[in-house]
C-alpha cells in the first residue's frame, strides 16, 4: 500500500479503534447473575459471553453455554430454574433460552423480543413471564410458545413476583401492575411515582414491597390495591428488599442500609456503608450480608450490629450483585475482576474462585 494511503488510514483506524473500545465496554454492561440449585448442587453464573454451571463444593465447571463463544450472545440476568426442570436464560441478544440444567443443552429459544432481557423471567404454574427492555412482558408456555404479551410505557428490567394466581410487575414507567397468572388479564395497577428496576417482594400476608428511584420504599396491600406506607430513603433504591421475620432490609444508591418494620414502615436502624448498594441482602448464619460499589462486604446482625468482611486483594472490585447462599457457602459475584465469582465459608475464607 502506498505511503500516503497508510498515513491517512492510520489515524482513521485509531478513531475506529477508540469507538470500538467504547462499544465493547457497552456490551459488558452489568454484573454476574448468580443462582443456586440445591437439588443438583450446582451454581449457575450468567457472566458476559456465557452461562456456567459450577459444582458448589469446589467450583469446578460442569458445563458452559454456549460451549464456544458466539458472536452477539451476552447475558447477565440471573438464571431462573423452573419447577419442571428448565434453566431459563435471558440474553442481551434479545433471545430467551431454555437449557437443560444437567447438561447445558438447549431445549428451545424464544426469539420474539426486540430488545435485551435485563431482568430474569418468572415461572409460575407452568407459565413463563419474561420481562424485556422492549416494554413487553412475554408470557410463554413452558415449551416456549408465546401465549400473549403485556405492554408497558417504558422498559421492564425487573423480575416479576407471583403467588401462583397473580403476577406483579414493577416496570420502569413507575407503575406496578397486577395480572392474572393464567389469563394474563390486567387486574389492577398502581402509579408509584418512581422508576423501578428491582423486583417486588410479596409477603405471606399479601403485602407487596418495592423500592423506587423516587427515593422511597412502598408497601402495597394487594387486597385493596392501595399504598399502606411509604418510607423515604436517602438515595434511589435499586435492589429488592429482603423480608425476614416481619422486617424489611434494603440498601440505596447513597450507600445507606436500612431496617424497617414491615407492618408500619418505621425505621428501626440504618447503616452508612460508604458505597452505592444495588443488591439484595442475603441471610447467612443469621446475619445479613451485603456488598457495595466500593467493594466492601458487610455482615450485619438483624439488630444492626455490623462488621466488615475483608476480601483478599486479589478479589477486590465493586460488589454490585446480590450475595447468594449456597449450602454452607456464601457466593459473591465480582465485577472488574479476573474472577467472576468467589465462594466464602463461615470463617470468611475464600474456598474457591471461578475465572471464566
Amino acid at each position: 500500500m502506498k505511503k500516503k494511503h497508510l498515513l491517512t488510514l492510520v489515524p482513521l483506524l485509531a478513531l475506529g479503534f477508540l469507538l470500538s473500545a467504547c462499544g465493547s465496554a457497552v456490551a459488558a454492561g452489568s454484573w454476574p447473575g448468580i443462582s443456586y440449585d440445591d437439588a443438583r448442587g450446582l451454581v449457575y453464573v450468567a457472566n458476559n459471553q456465557a452461562v456456567h454451571a459450577l459444582q458448589v463444593e469446589n467450583g469446578l465447571e460442569r458445563w458452559q453455554f454456549p460451549a464456544e463463544p458466539q458472536g452477539g450472545f451476552t447475558t447477565h440476568a440471573t438464571p431462573e430454574l423452573t419447577e419442571d426442570g428448565q434453566l431459563l436464560i435471558g440474553g442481551y441478544d434479545n433471545i430467551l433460552y431454555s437449557l437443560n440444567p444437567d447438561s447445558g443443552a438447549q431445549n428451545w429459544t424464544f426469539t420474539g423480543a426486540s430488545n435485551r432481557y435485563i431482568g430474569s423471567p418468572l415461572a409460575v404454574a407452568g407459565i413463563i413471564f419474561a420481562p424485556n427492555a422492549d416494554q413487553r412482558l412475554y408470557v410463554l408456555e413452558h415449551t416456549g410458545s408465546l401465549l400473549r404479551t403485556f405492554t408497558t410505557k417504558d422498559p421492564q428490567w425487573s423480575q416479576p413476583a407471583g403467588d401462583g394466581s397473580t403476577v406483579y410487575l414493577a416496570a420502569m414507567d413507575e407503575v406496578l401492575y397486577a395480572m392474572d397468572a393464567q389469563s394474563g388479564e390486567e387486574l389492577w395497577s398502581l402509579q408509584l411515582d418512581g422508576t423501578m428496576v428491582g423486583s417486588p417482594v410479596l409477603g405471606a400476608d399479601g403485602i407487596l414491597y418495592v423500592g423506587t428511584f423516587d427515593q422511597s420504599v412502598v408497601a402495597i396491600d394487594t387486597a385493596t390495591h392501595r399504598e399502606l406506607w411509604r418510607f423515604a430513603t436517602q438515595g434511589w433504591v435499586w435492589g429488592s428488599p429482603a423480608l425476614i421475620e416481619d422486617q424489611l432490609y434494603l440498601g440505596d444508591l447513597d450507600g445507606f442500609f436500612y431496617a424497617l418494620d414491615a407492618a408500619s414502615g418505621e425505621e428501626l436502624w440504618r447503616l452508612d456503608t460508604g458505597g452505592a448498594i444495588t443488591g439484595t441482602p442475603a441471610l447467612y448464619n443469621e446475619n445479613l450480608i451485603i456488598g457495595n460499589e466500593a467493594g466492601r462486604l458487610f455482615s450485619i446482625s438483624l439488630d444492626g450490629r455490623s462488621r466488615e468482611l475483608p476480601l483478599p486483594e486479589a478479589y477486590q472490585g465493586p460488589l454490585y450483585g446480590s450475595p447468594v447462599v449456597a449450602g454452607e457457602f456464601l457466593l459473591i459475584g465480582l465485577t472488574g475482576n479476573e474472577s467472576a465469582l468467589i465462594a466464602l465459608d463461615a470463617d470468611n475464607t475464600v474456598v474457591w474462585n471461578f475465572i471464566p
Binding site: Y92, R116, V197, T278
Partner: protein, 255 residues
C-alpha cells in the same frame, strides 16, 4: 478518562431533553448546535486555513516556485521554499489540523454521553444515576429513545414493506454529508503530500463515519449528520463574498 466532559455533556443532554418535551432526538440536534457554537472559533480557523491554502494555488510566487523546482530531485528544496512562503503569507499549515484534533475528544464524549443518557444496561444506568445532578432526574429516567422511526439507542435501520432488509438511512446520510463537508474543508489542487493526504481523507473519512453510524447507536449518527450539515452551512456563509472586500485572490491570512 473523559468524565470531566462526559458528565456535563450528559447533564446538558438530559436537561435539554426535559425542556423539549422529552424528545431525545431534538435534544441531540439542539445540543449539537450548541457544541458547534462553542467550538465555532476553532472551526472558523480551520476553514480560514483551508481557504488560504486553496488561494495559495493561484499565487504567482507559488507557481513560479513550482516551475523553478520541478522534478523529484528538487522536492526538498521546494518544501523548504514553500515553508518560507507560508511564513511570508502568514499561513500556519497546522492550523487546519488542530481544530480537527479537538473534535476527537468531543466526538468520544458525545458518544459516551448519548449511551450513558439512554442507559441500555444496568452499569450505564448506574453511571447515569450517579452522574446526573438534575432535581427531577428520577422521573425522567428512562429517557425516551424513540425519534421518528428510530430507536436512538440502537443502530438505525428503516424497514419498508416489500424490502427484506432494513435500510441504514442515517449511515447513508452520514456518508454523503461527511463527503461534502470533508471536500469543502480540504484544500484542493496541489501536488504536495499534505494535500494528497487531504484527498485521501475525503475518500476514507465518509466511509469510516458511515461504518461507525452503521454499527453504533443511531443517536451518534444523528449527531454526525447534524454536525456535518452545520459545517456545510457554515462553510457557505464564510465563503460568501463580502461586498467591501476586494476581489483579489490569495489574500494572506493572519495567524
Amino acid at each position: 478518562m473523559l468524565d470531566f466532559i462526559i458528565v456535563p455533556f450528559t447533564n446538558a443532554l438530559v436537561f435539554i431533553y426535559s425542556l423539549l418535551g422529552e424528545n431525545f432526538g431534538l435534544a441531540i440536534i439542539v445540543f449539537t448546535i450548541l457544541v458547534r457554537v462553542v467550538t465555532y472559533p476553532f472551526t472558523a480557523q480551520q476553514m480560514k486555513s483551508a481557504k488560504a491554502m486553496q488561494e495559495l494555488q493561484t499565487n504567482p510566487k507559488w507557481k513560479a516556485m513550482q516551475q523553478k523546482y520541478k522534478g523529484k530531485e528538487n522536492r526538498e528544496k521546494l518544501a523548504a521554499e514553500q515553508m518560507k512562503l507560508y511564513k511570508e503569507l502568514g499561513i500556519n499549515p497546522l492550523s487546519g489540523c488542530l481544530p480537527s484534533l479537538i473534535q476527537l475528544p468531543l466526538l468520544l464524549a458525545m458518544y459516551w454521553a448519548i449511551t450513558r443518557a439512554l442507559a441500555a444496561t444496568p452499569l450505564q444506568l448506574l453511571d447515569l444515576a450517579q452522574g446526573i445532578s438534575l432535581g427531577n432526574a428520577a422521573h425522567l429516567i428512562p429517557l425516551n429513545s424513540q425519534f421518528l422511526w428510530m430507536d436512538l439507542g440502537q443502530p438505525e435501520r428503516l424497514f419498508i414493506p416489500g424490502i427484506p432488509i432494513g435500510i441504514p438511512v442515517l449511515a447513508i446520510l452520514v456518508m454523503i454529508t461527511s463527503y461534502f463537508q470533508s471536500k469543502m474543508t480540504t484544500p484542493s489542487t496541489s501536488n504536495d503530500q499534505s494535500a494528497q493526504m487531504g484527498r485521501m481523507m475525503t475518500l476514507y473519512m465518509p466511509l469510516l463515519m458511515a461504518y461507525i453510524s452503521y454499527i453504533y447507536a443511531a443517536g451518534l449518527a444523528l449527531y454526525f449528520v447534524v454536525g456535518n450539515l452545520l459545517s456545510i452551512a457554515q462553510y457557505y456563509i464564510m465563503r460568501r463574498p463580502k461586498a467591501e472586500r476586494p476581489a483579489t485572490p490569495a489574500a494572506p491570512v493572519t495567524k
